[in-house]
């Protein structure tokens, strides 16, 4: 940690709000605030927030880490760079054809997403490498000159290069990349972005990188320039870092070249923040957790809900798809469903009560916001008395309970149900959506939810978390005090993480020494790149792993590289699929990819434990109000102001807790307490 007082800032740029978390290690001061986002120029809100921080006199800023939707939005809205693709002769259309499957089975009107590089910007070169890595046709340098001229003529901003089998023989791609780069073009080479087999997925990932990186670059350049200016006086500005989708941060220089790694960085920040807070909260006394926490994160917002699982470590996937484009780099495995507080409820012609996929969004918003007429999940919660209109968003946003009630009355009418019954139904169906998502990431992937804690953040989650935990057998719910700015906090808690991969296709009986030798180039590269990020060699943590399968399969399971490799693989296979082929010779196993995760710690916010006050929460009691319980009966329940609760306070359910950023339902029989960090921990009754 530096000797002079310095400040760290985490920023998460979302669609609606840009969140700031400011932290000063010298005195532990921590502050969060939100500003409205400025989608036309995301840097504007960031700079406005930084001005506010400067005005508040936090002192010199050492580090700014931020997650941004800049790359994501460029992809989703198809507003990226004018991108060309260079392929092996005969394969320019791979990016368009994809896997030749249509997006919807039963919908004639569904179209596949347009390729990021249109046909007129897809170019072929004569060259070919075999599946064994031999050059069948060498790349003639002259064609690259012709290619360069054509790219210039077309006014291309960014170029993706993806040749067949380049993960076995990268030289052709490299020589193209070198020549184009020397001419000043921005080039994404697939052998650098994703040296793994399956040409479509590799092309797509590389094309996404080429498509979003220039947009990210422009944004980062604008930010960096603005940050330099006020500091002036020859002094270096704060160190800018960018959150990646794998839950780690990288420097700006890296981010500019690897835009694809920054897609979905906001949600990743939430998971990292959750993991860090829970690690502290769930530790026994002062002893930190040895394995890291077992968590299921639940971020329910207005239009969508993100869930993910942390089993000691956050789970990583290589199978993401964003805006219709497969992205095969390691990402935190975050599952998103299109249901949230704003999801609209309706009765369909077959007589089922549906919630979503349509959302009232921010405009018109739920009926209770005063403009819309259609009932949403938020309206249902309000009609059940579980949202206190006058405290919503700290009282800044007036709600209209009568409108919510009327909307639900209309929903229930054809069924002969009173409004409150309809509201209970809406909540039950919304919970069914959430439950399916939570089961998908836990039970269906071999994790027993009974060994996990449900960590709820996002504005809408607190009202649903306890009931969901009950349905899944999850014993406890944790609601952190930073429920609505957890992603920005996560940016501060993240480590530097870089993932490396290489397809090798080795037999399972390959000697360990040879595997280690194959890993060595990745290790060298990792060491150099982490050094460039300011992590000294001895502090770099390396986690090598192998993607393995039985020969003939084509989905791999990742196992840590070590002496027990083969047995670890058999066990992983048994866990995942319920059977193994333990008897087969080692040569019938296949090592498909080498993986290396290199990480290095950065100073994290050291949260301080607050002294315990008494158990009695009555100082925070606002009033008693009628609430409809899940069983359908009504009762007068205590409402507490979350901000006024003290560490050590205990609340017995049924009770409600209201905070400026969220409301929390504590069910009948549930017992909650406030811990030394201000987290609310709910022990869920069975």
């Amino acid at each position: 940690m530096p000797m002079h007082p310095s400040t760290f800032i985490g920023i998460d740029i979302g669609g609606t709000f840009t969140d700031f978390v400011v932290y000063r290690p010298s005195d532990g001061a921590l502050r969060t605030f939100k500003l409205l986002s400025t989608p036309h120029d995301p840097a504007e809100a960031v700079l406005r927030g930084l001005e506010r921080i400067a005005a508040e006199g936090w002192g010199p800023i050492e580090r700014i880490t931020h997650g941004s939707t800049v790359a994501t939005n460029a992809l989703l809205e198809r507003k990226g760079a004018r991108t060309a693709l260079v392929t092996t002769r005969g394969f320019a259309d791979v990016l368009q054809i994809g896997r030749q499957n249509r997006p919807e089975l039963y919908d004639f009107s569904a179209d596949p997403p347009p390729p990021l590089a249109p046909a007129e910007l897809r170019f072929e070169v004569d060259e070919r490498v075999s599946a064994g890595g031999q050059v069948l046709q060498a790349l003639a340098p002259a064609q690259v000159d012709a290619l360069l001229a054509e790219l210039r003529r077309q006014g291309v901003e960014s170029v993706a290069v993806c040749l067949l089998f380049s993960f076995l023989h990268p030289e052709h791609e490299r020589s193209i990349a070198e020549k184009l780069r020397a001419a000043g073009l921005l080039v994404s080479a697939s052998c650098e972005i994703l040296p793994e087999y399956r040409e479509y997925e590799r092309s797509s990932t590389t094309a996404v990188n080429a498509y979003v990186s220039p947009v990210l670059e422009r944004y980062l350049a604008r930010l960096a320039e603005a940050l330099q200016a006020p500091q002036g006086q020859g002094q270096a500005g704060p160190l800018l870092r960018v959150m990646q989708s794998n839950g780690g941060v990288i420097g700006v220089e890296e981010a500019r070249r690897n835009g694809v790694r920054c897609i979905l960085s906001g949600p990743a920040g939430g998971v990292v923040g959750a993991q860090y807070l829970a690690g502290l909260a769930l530790a026994e006394g002062d002893r930190p957790l040895e394995q890291g926490p077992n968590l299921i994160t639940f971020d329910m917002g207005g239009t969508s809900t993100d869930v993910s699982l942390v089993a000691g470590q956050a789970q990583v996937t290589g199978e993401a798809q964003v805006g219709g484009c497969p992205i095969r780099i390691p990402l935190l495995d975050i599952h998103t469903i299109g249901a949230g507080g704003g999801s609209i409820a309706r009765l369909d012609p077959g007589g089922a009560l549906r919630v979503g996929p349509h959302s009232a969004g921010a405009d018109p918003g739920p009926a209770c916001y005063g403009r819309g007429e259609l009932p949403t999940v938020t309206d249902a919660n309000l009609a059940l008395g579980r949202l206190a209109a006058e405290y919503f968003l700290g009282g800044e946003m007036p709600l209209h309970p009568q409108r919510a009630f009327q909307a639900l009355e209309r929903l229930g009418q054809p069924l002969g149900l009173p409004a409150f019954q309809a509201a209970l139904g809406v909540v039950a169906v919304a919970n069914a959506h959430m439950e399916r998502a939570l089961r998908l990431i836990s039970v269906e992937r071999g994790h027993d939810p009974r060994g996990f804690t449900l960590l709820s953040f996002g504005g809408a989650g607190g009202l649903h978390a306890a009931e969901l935990a009950r349905r899944l057998g999850i014993p406890a719910v944790l609601v952190p005090p930073l429920a609505s700015t957890l992603s920005a906090f996560g940016m501060l808690a993240a480590e530097v993480v870089k993932d490396y991969t290489q397809t090798v296709m080795l037999p399972g009986d390959t000697p360990q020494a040879e595997i280690a030798a194959r890993l060595e180039p990745l290790v060298q590269r990792a060491a150099a790149e982490l050094r460039a990020e300011g992590i000294p060699g001895e502090q770099v943590r390396l986690e090598p792993a192998l993607d393995m399968r039985y020969r003939g399969q084509s989905y791999e399971l990742s196992v840590p590289f070590g002496p027990g490799l083969l047995e670890d693989f058999h066990q992983a296979h048994e866990r995942a699929y319920g059977y193994t082929r333990r008897g087969v010779p080692a040569s019938d196993l296949e090592i498909v990819n080498l993986r290396l995760r290199a990480s290095g710690s950065l100073p994290r916010p050291a949260l301080t434990r607050q002294p315990q006050a008494g158990r009695d929460p009555r100082a925070a009691l606002l009033e008693h109000r009628p609430v409809v319980l899940p069983c359908g009966e009504s009762a007068r329940l205590p409402f507490y102001r979350g901000e006024a609760l003290q560490p050590g306070n205990r609340l017995d359910g049924p009770a409600m807790l209201v905070r400026a950023d969220t409301s929390v339902w504590i069910g009948p029989g549930d017992r909650a307490r406030v811990d030394a960090y201000g987290n609310l921990l709910i022990e869920v009754a069975r």
Partner: protein, 539 residues
């Protein structure tokens, strides 16, 4: 159908619960299987059934399996009325619950374990195996009788009380070209059913098996109501349409398929009387296929988010004369009924619906799956190989948009095998894989373009082609032009020679096979200055 009083909230919740079971089975099968056909191309389906064998939920995988899986369950139950806990029935016999031989289906009864065991439902999955023996590698030959097409598995009890019948398994494996791969795939299929069984039991434990059974019925009734509502919205009347298969692969004559669709209020009759009799070549469709095609078309008209279950067919009467092309009887050869004839059945159904002025159906899509099988001996890897692939093409133009290019249409949605996976596994090399530009029919809206895929064999091999729309083009609608028919070519020693749509051929090392798939039909009169294809054609 007897609809119990269903709570609208519980109805919605169970819809998700049942669908999740079928989907999770699919994930297990895909990830644990061995043949590229299942894991890469996803040529499989998983489904959940009630205790009466009615399909309650099917994961959205392959439409051609839609109507046919329930017949598998029925055949399994008929063969073994005494099925008990832990039993699993395997079958592929097209005339007893199957469709064509490569599709092997596993059916498991699910019993509540507490004594006495009570039947709670069934789970089943079907996967297309890359080889099940028979006269040519890949088991998609141009045969005269089903016996030539491969090993016929009538419903057999592959597992009894959880134990595999080793003798039976050995018999199956001894009759296929790639037994290790088959074994791996069968284990993956068993694992998928076990997962489905586990999940259904968990549901029964949580809600009670009576409630689960009750909502299975409620969901069938729900889909039926939705289907009836959709039919009532179509103009009543009789609509006829006829289209042809190029040939049956044995003779050269086109083979007519005829349909008369009668829509009357909330019901419909689909009558295939007038369709050709079953053929000598392997293009015959068993009844299950025809039912699947009807189901698929209805499902598309229904829209998204309606559960895939038996309720969809309840208001429909399907008349398919026994012994005809669309209801073949033993010992007809059937390999192509599933993959080719099914597409033409969809074409005639959509053609009839277009007459009904439904205003929402597209012109004809490529109308084939372009089945390509290459097999032989691979000296380098030291073993036999059997590679099977289907290739996408153009989709028909739609009433308000061009047809998409280079995709699978209608009855299949299998993925391609990545070039880098294919060349790693087989002695083959892909020379090009591209959009066949200009092959879509012109029109106010253009048909989508087909695909060109050129493959070189590096060893001597036997290839079987089972493709359609090589002579008779996919039709346009409302004055739109037809799409271009497909082409199969052989390039040997620099000479190009055309190959027929269906047949088996010996290839020499170095031969190149060029498959060019059909474009989709156009819709509406072409406008004079035809706008350039949006997906573009850069020379």
């Amino acid at each position: 159908m007897n609809a119990p009083n269903a709570d609208p909230v519980q109805l919605e919740i169970f819809k998700h619960l049942f669908a999740a079971i079928a989907e999770e089975m699919g994930v297990v099968l895909r990830k644990a299987s061995f043949s590229p056909n299942i894991k890469e191309r996803r040529d499989f389906s998983c489904a959940l059934f009630d205790a009466g064998g009615q399909m309650v939920a099917q994961a959205a995988h392959i439409p051609v399996h839609l109507g046919s899986m329930p017949l598998s369950v029925a055949a399994a139950v008929q063969a073994f009325p005494d099925l008990g806990p832990g039993d699993m029935v395997a079958l592929n016999d097209p005339f007893r619950g199957g469709t064509h031989l490569p599709d092997i289906t596993l059916v498991s009864p699910v019993f509540i374990p507490e004594p006495p065991p009570r039947l709670c439902g069934y789970v089943a999955n079907r996967a297309h195996h890359a080889d099940v023996g028979g006269m040519s590698p890949g088991s998609m030959p141009i045969a005269r009788q089903v016996f030539q097409e491969g090993l016929i598995i009538p419903p057999v009890r592959l597992l009894r009380a959880g134990e595999v019948d080793q003798g039976l398994l050995d018999l199956i494996l001894a009759n296929v070209r790639t037994p290790q791969e088959r074994l791996g795939d069968l284990w993956a299929q068993i694992a998928a059913n076990r997962r489905g069984e586990e999940r259904l039991l968990a549901l029964a434990a949580r809600y009670g098996d009576q409630t689960v059974g009750q909502y299975m019925q409620a969901l069938l009734a729900y889909t039926e109501r939705m289907t009836r509502g959709m039919l009532a919205g179509l103009p009543a009347g009789q609509y006829r349409f006829q289209d042809f298969l190029d040939d049956d692969g044995v003779s050269d004559a086109p083979v007519p398929i005829q349909v008369c669709l009668t829509i009357q209020g909330e019901q419909a009759v689909v009558d295939f009387t007038g369709t050709a009799p079953q053929q000598k070549g392997g293009v015959n469709a068993v009844y299950a296929i025809t039912l699947s095609a009807v189901y698929y078309v209805l499902r598309c008209l229904l829209g998204l988010d309606v559960p895939n279950n038996a309720g969809c067919l309840a208001p429909i009467q399907v008349i398919a004369p026994p012994g005809s092309l669309v209801n073949a009887l033993p010992p007809a050869a059937v390999a192509g009924g599933n993959v080719e004839t099914s597409q033409r059945i969809v074409d005639v159904l959509l053609g009839a619906l277009a007459q009904a002025g439904a205003g929402r159906v597209p012109a004809a899509s490529q109308g084939t799956m372009n089945n390509l099988t290459i097999g032989g001996y691979d000296p380098q890897r030291g073993g036999a190989f059997a590679y099977y692939e289907t290739i996408g093409g153009g989709m028909g133009a739609r009433p308000t948009a061009d047809g998409p290019s280079a995709l699978h249409s209608h009855m299949t949605n299998t993925l391609n095998t990545p070039v880098e996976a294919l060349e790693y596994a087989y002695p083959l090399r892909v020379l090009c894989y591209q959009v066949r530009r200009g092959s879509g029919g012109r029109g106010r809206y253009r048909g989508g373009d087909g695909i060109r895929r050129d493959l070189q064999t590096l060893v001597e091999a036997e290839v079987t082609l089972l493709s359609e729309r090589r002579k008779l083009a996919p039709y346009g609608l409302d004055g739109g032009e037809p799409g271009q028919p497909g082409q199969n070519l052989l390039l040997r020693d620099g000479q190009e020679q055309p190959l027929p749509g269906k047949g088996s051929f010996e290839l020499q090392a170095g031969d190149i096979l060029s498959i060019r798939t059909p474009g989709g039909g156009g819709l509406g009169e072409p406008v004079e200055s035809s706008k350039p294809d949006s997906s573009g054609a850069a020379a």
